[in-house]
């Protein structure tokens, strides 16, 4: 492509399972829908194979098939998403289907070396999909979030070596439960860095079991970003009504509201979350526990963090992981108001990003049938800044 087909959409439509659709340098004003299982869509050059939605097309590459990989290209200015892996589109059974659970789900997906910026909702979006890998990718300037994994259980997805910056939210994981790993990535200059969370608007609430490990979560207070609701501007990692999440060995610095916070969302309380071994500096509060309507620990605990401020005070004593929690103080400190949001369409494009290292000399990395990889959490270290 374009030597074999006039458009990417036509090339993809012709592809058979196992094919690699190779896209040459150029700017493509296309919205491509993928319904063939097991294909790879690959740009020859991450920075010069560019999909431009021109603020009129909805989603750059919309995947509704299993085992599809998208790699080494850039997508921007779509009204909705750069890349969408959408299991709901293939679900049958109408309103009775619980998308993302059982068999009604897309299985197997991968995004590698993908750059997304200034799309209207999400950069890379996996919805009702499981068994995924999002790696070596970049997302900026998104009014909802750079990377979004939603409504899946179990999700079995790994995000690694991702950079999300200047989005409203860096990583947004609503009702994304089971086998979710957000690791060794950078969340910088968003309004809120990372938020596994439970919400009623999506199915499969509450959210459970995400591992957030080894990330650099810094300076999430850039006012030149799209708007976010009050109470979260300046947050690093926020567990919003999530359960049994593990936040471990992240470096969380320069977030003026709070570094790591556990809060309620909708009627969902944060429960049984473990916050361990993180390094926190220069945050409004390094650690904040602030559920609504209770002063109980709800099984949440903090241990081995390097921090200097918390609410409640002495958080590792009153919410210890190996002791009996004590009643907590109510009425946490208020958060600061958020500055007005920027129009995502006006934000600057990112600089060129690191291309797929061996380019076309690689044999097809295949679809996502072999992912997600096994994650050795114990081997993940606190990153340097």
């Amino acid at each position: 492509m374009p030597s074999d087909a006039p458009t990417v959409a036509e090339a993809v439509a012709k592809a058979q399972p196992g094919d690699v659709v190779v896209i040459g340098p150029g700017t493509y004003h296309e919205a491509v829908k993928v319904v063939v299982d097991g294909i790879t869509i690959r740009g020859e050059n991450r920075n010069t194979v560019v999909f431009d939605g021109k603020d009129t097309l909805a989603t750059g590459i919309s995947v509704e098939a299993n085992g599809v990989a998208v790699e080494n290209l850039t997508l921007h200015n779509y009204t909705q998403n750069g890349v969408l892996f959408n299991g709901a589109a293939t679900a049958e059974g109408g309103a009775d289907v619980v998308y993302g659970a059982g068999d009604a789900v897309l299985s197997g997906y991968r995004a590698s070396y993908v750059t997304t910026y200034n799309n209207g909702l999400y950069g890379i979006y996996a919805f009702a999909a499981r068994n995924g890998l999002i790696e070596h990718s970049y997302a900026s300037g998104h009014p909802d979030s750079g990377i979004y994994v939603g409504q899946c259980q179990p999700c079995n997805v790994v995000l690694r070596d991702v950079t999300a910056e200047r989005n409203a939210i860096g990583y947004y994981g609503t009702n994304a439960s089971g086998g979710v790993y957000v690791i060794e990535s950078v969340f910088r200059g968003n309004r809120l860095g990372i938020t596994p969370n439970s919400q009623k608007m999506e199915k499969l609430a509450p959210q459970i079991e995400t591992v957030v490990a080894g990330n650099l979560v810094v300076d999430n207070d850039d006012p030149n970003t799209p708007a976010i609701g009050s109470g979260f501007f300046g947050g690093g990692i926020a567990i919003g009504g999530g359960t049994r999440n593990t936040v471990v060995r992240n470096r969380v610095e320069g977030n003026p509201m709070a570094g790591i916070l556990l809060v309620s969302l909708n009627e969902f309380q944060p429960r049984d979350n473990r916050i361990a071994g993180n390094v926190l500096n220069d945050n409004g509060l390094d650690l904040l526990y602030s559920p609504t309507g209770t002063i109980e620990a709800l099984g949440n605990c903090f241990v081995g963090n390097d921090f200097s401020s918390s609410w409640p005070e002495s958080i590792e004593q009153v919410m210890a992981c190996d002791g009996t929690p004590t009643p907590l103080a109510a009425n946490p400190p208020p958060s600061a108001p958020a500055p007005p949001g920027a129009d995502y369409r006006t934000l600057p494009p990112p600089p060129d990003q690191l291309p797929m290292p061996t380019g076309l000399s690689l044999t097809a990395r295949g679809g996502a049938g072999t992912v997600p990889p096994t994650v050795d959490i114990a081997a993940i270290k606190v990153p340097n800044r």
């Binding site: 909805a58 009014p143 608007m201 999506e202 969302l265 909708n266």
Partner: protein
């Protein structure tokens, strides 16, 4: 932090407040009636409505809120600045809001003009101010609920079409003609209904209801363009607290209903 809205200021609070019931305005007989789920394109159009309005910056509008239980009715004709969340409208009402003739509003407050209050101040020899400033009460007062809905018809962010599609009740209802413009009528959830222009997807009419279905509201977007809305002079405004019992007395004195032919 009670909903996704708290993160992202999206459209769904409207779903919590409003829905689809009959309504005013001029709609021709439907040209197509096929109740079905929303296609990707229809969901995308719905997801874009509020963002598109925000881009337009403002509009003139007409709104009708009618109780199906008491026959109370509020008619508004005005303008809205969606960027700065400021609005102005003339009011004709029966029922509890009958005394209100004009409002200015923004997120933090409502200025209402009640001729009965002005007359009362004059009769008491008090300094006359035409407007009373008070806090919005969109839960307790139907007028304020309509004002909040008008303001809420714009957002800096698109909605998520996948969530619209899977929301119970979302469906394509029909094609139609509204004010001689071809439209498609789409329902979002059980209680929101929108008339979108076929040619460019702009919102021409929003119709909704509360959870019990007895407070239908119809908002017609007449002409979209940036609006600069200047409120009354501060010297013409007193607060509810300043007026105290006089305000309560003015609210209690209901003017005679106006001739219905003028509404």
């Amino acid at each position: 932090m009670s909903s996704r809205r708290d993160f992202l200021t999206t459209m769904l609070p409207l779903a919590a407040l409003v829905a689809c019931q009959g309504g005013g305005g001029s709609t021709s007989a439907p040209t197509t009636t096929v109740a079905a789920g929303l296609t990707d394109e229809q969901a995308a159009a719905m997801a874009n409505v509020l963002f598109d309005n925000y881009d337009a910056k403002g509009a003139t509008f007409a709104a009708v809120a009618a109780s199906t239980v008491t026959s109370d009715r509020i008619d508004l004709s005005g303008e809205i600045d969606w960027v700065n969340h400021r609005g102005h409208a003339l009011v004709q009402a029966t029922g509890p809001e009958m005394g209100v003739a004009e409002v200015f509003w923004q997120d933090a407050g409502v200025l209402e003009r009640r001729p009965q209050l002005t007359a009362l101040l004059t009769s008491l020899g008090r300094p006359v101010t035409n407007f009373v400033a008070r806090e919005p009460d969109p839960v307790g007062r139907d007028l304020d609920r309509v004002l909040a809905l008008v303001t809420g018809l714009a957002s800096q962010r698109r909605d998520n079409p996948l969530l619209i599609q899977q929301t119970e009740g979302s469906q394509f209802l029909r094609t139609d003609t509204l004010r001689e413009i071809a439209v498609q009528v789409l329902r979002y959830g059980q209680r929101n209904q929108s008339w979108l222009a076929v040619d460019d997807g702009r919102l021409l009419r929003f119709e909704g209801n509360n959870e019990t279905g007895n407070r239908p509201v119809v908002i017609d977007i007449i002409h979209r363009a940036a609006r600069e809305i200047a409120g009354p002079l501060t010297t013409d405004v007193a607060t509810v607290e300043q007026l105290g019992e006089i305000y309560d007395a003015a609210v209690a004195v209901q003017p005679q209903p106006q001739d219905s032919s003028t509404t």
